[in-house]
């Protein structure tokens, strides 16, 4: 714990020192103190909070849609070989196309800009969640399935009482990775096509030549990613009490 705090402290210290000593390159960007001050100022404005709300809403909707569709689809593919044979190749064909490559098509296809951004976020979350969950189903220990069958469990029980709980850790991992990816996508999408949001805030800082605004947006985005991924891990631990150390 103290090592981590020490190294983070040193990072900020060096950054601050570079600014004070006017070291070339890194010394030209605002110091942590400047950024902190600007951040505090920004929190006084309603525009800053509405950027949070807009990005947060996009992330939440796209991520939830990706998870709510990705988890059942992956579970179904994991349980049914025929279905998997049909659907999985399609998924593997579409997956290598990065979500951001979908942006132009998405804008043409969806009636509103909002929907097109959410769709791209959905794609990122969906593939991340679905592939992890599918891997989780495949990794269920066969001896646990056999033991359930030997005790007379029918497929319905095996799914609800064995496969699903065994897959929860993979669902949590997929969601956490998906959440990280979701933030990357929302920022990039907002830079490309947005008219508001934290990504747009960073882009606006760039357009106006305001380094401190860029950094305020970057820090905010980092906080957003950290909080939302942290929330997933906390919920994940709640959902898997058996993995807690006694």
């Amino acid at each position: 714990m103290w090592q981590g705090m020490f190294s983070v402290f040193v990072l900020f210290g060096l950054w601050q020192a570079a600014g004070a000593l006017r070291v070339g390159g890194i010394g030209d960007i605002p110091t942590p103190v400047d950024v902190a001050r600007a951040l505090v100022d920004a929190t006084q404005t309603s525009r800053y909070w509405s950027s949070w709300a807009i990005s947060g809403e996009r992330v939440a909707i796209g991520f939830l849609a990706g998870t709510l569709i990705g988890v059942p689809v992956a579970l179904a593919l994991g349980m049914n070989r025929t279905l998997r044979g049909i659907v999985f190749p399609v998924m593997e064909t579409l997956r290598p196309v990065p979500p951001l490559a979908w942006v132009p098509l998405s804008i043409l296809f969806w009636p509103t800009l909002e929907l097109s951004i959410i769709f791209v976020i959905f794609l990122g979350a969906f593939f991340s969640v679905a592939l992890n969950v599918l891997g989780g189903v495949d990794a269920v220990d066969p001896s646990l399935l056999r033991a359930a069958r030997s005790m007379g469990a029918r497929p319905r029980h095996i799914f609800w009482m064995i496969v699903l709980p065994a897959t929860i850790p993979a669902i949590v991992t997929g969601m956490a990775l998906g959440m990280g990816l979701t933030w990357e996508i929302v920022i990039a999408a907002e830079m490309i096509a947005g008219k508001a949001g934290l990504g747009y805030l960073a882009w606006e800082g760039f357009v106006n030549g305001s380094l401190v605004s860029i950094l305020v947006a970057m820090v905010s985005i980092g906080i957003g990613g950290f909080l939302s991924c942290g929330l997933i891990w906390v919920l994940g631990q709640r959902a898997t009490p058996w993995q807690r150390k006694s």
């Binding site: 001896s143 646990l144 056999r146 033991a147 359930a148 069958r149 030997s150 005790m151 007379g152 469990a153 029918r154 029980h157 009482m161 064995i162 709980p165 065994a166 929860i168 898997t240 009490p241 058996w242 993995q243 006694s246």
Partner: protein, 267 residues
């Protein structure tokens, strides 16, 4: 379990099993394998690892079917797994995400054979008997190896099976725990007298537990010898120093040794 004494006679006649794996020559694991398992007795099946002990156990449990010969329980052919037989595997079969009691009542829940309240009260009784009642709401990951094995026994017994099949259940436990579990298991068996097939590769464990000992040997394997182990009941560790125990041990050692010698000569 009161009528367990009168049911659960297993008859295996002339059973053969050929394993065919892709890109490998077929292996005749068992051939002309015949024996009977008498009700209310603890029959131990012993043989070197890889001789087909587990294959036999899987066939009796109904997971595999023989290529040749017949297998019956109380004169009815075995056609698949059934709740009359319960198998305890080598590896732990507790589900990590269920507490101990949830693990124990899984069987009745899956079968719908009793009400939830009934299953819980039965499970509580079994867990009390196995000294696990205080650990009822713990997860398997929080138990020691010996406790896990006891929880599995409770899990198996709650369904009141006719026949218990234990496939090297104490393998992988440390020596101390293993000996404790053997003694514990003997006590449990003498109380329930549930027809049992116990599979092991350990000679001392085999003699200590068995009412009747079946020795597997040959290639392909069959039962080469059946020995009635007439050591006194209840069994305690003192029997391991008795003269009769040593006699039986010597007899079996000679058998196993002959088998190995024949194998070496055949090469």
């Amino acid at each position: 379990m009161a009528d367990a004494r009168s049911i659960g006679r297993i008859a295996v006649k002339g059973v053969g099993k050929l394993y065919q794996r892709p890109k490998q020559p077929p292996v005749q694991v068992l051939d002309n394998c015949s024996f009977e398992i008498e009700p209310a007795k603890l029959t131990v099946l012993m043989g070197a690892s890889g001789c087909g002990k587990s294959t036999l156990a899987y066939m009796i449990a109904g997971y595999l079917s023989p290529d040749k010969g017949s297998m019956t329980i109380d004169d009815i052919s075995i056609v698949g797994p059934g709740p009359d037989r319960i198998m305890v595997f080598q590896e732990t079969a507790l589900w990590p995400w269920m507490t101990v009691i949830e693990n124990v009542i899984f069987g009745p829940r899956a079968l719908g054979s009793m009400s939830d309240a009934e299953a819980r009260s039965k499970a509580n009784a079994l867990l009390t008997k196995f000294g696990l009642i205080e650990f009822r709401d713990k997860y398997p990951g929080q138990l020691s190896g010996g406790m896990k094995r006891r929880a599995e026994l409770a899990q198996a017994l709650i369904n009141s099976p006719k026949i218990m099949i234990l496939d090297e259940p104490f393998r992988g436990l440390d020596v101390m725990t293993r000996e404790l579990m053997q003694e514990y298991y003997v006590g449990l068996f003498e109380e329930t007298r549930l027809t049992t097939l116990f599979i092991t590769a350990e000679l001392e464990e085999a003699i200590f537990l068995a009412d009747r000992l079946l020795i597997m040997g040959g290639s392909p394997s069959r039962i080469v010898k059946a020995i009635e182990v007439d050591l006194p009941h209840p069994r305690t560790w003192e029997v391991l120093t008795s003269e009769r125990y040593l006699e039986i041990k010597e007899e079996i050692m000679r058998l196993l040794y002959q088998d190995q010698e024949a194998e070496l000569l055949a090469q």
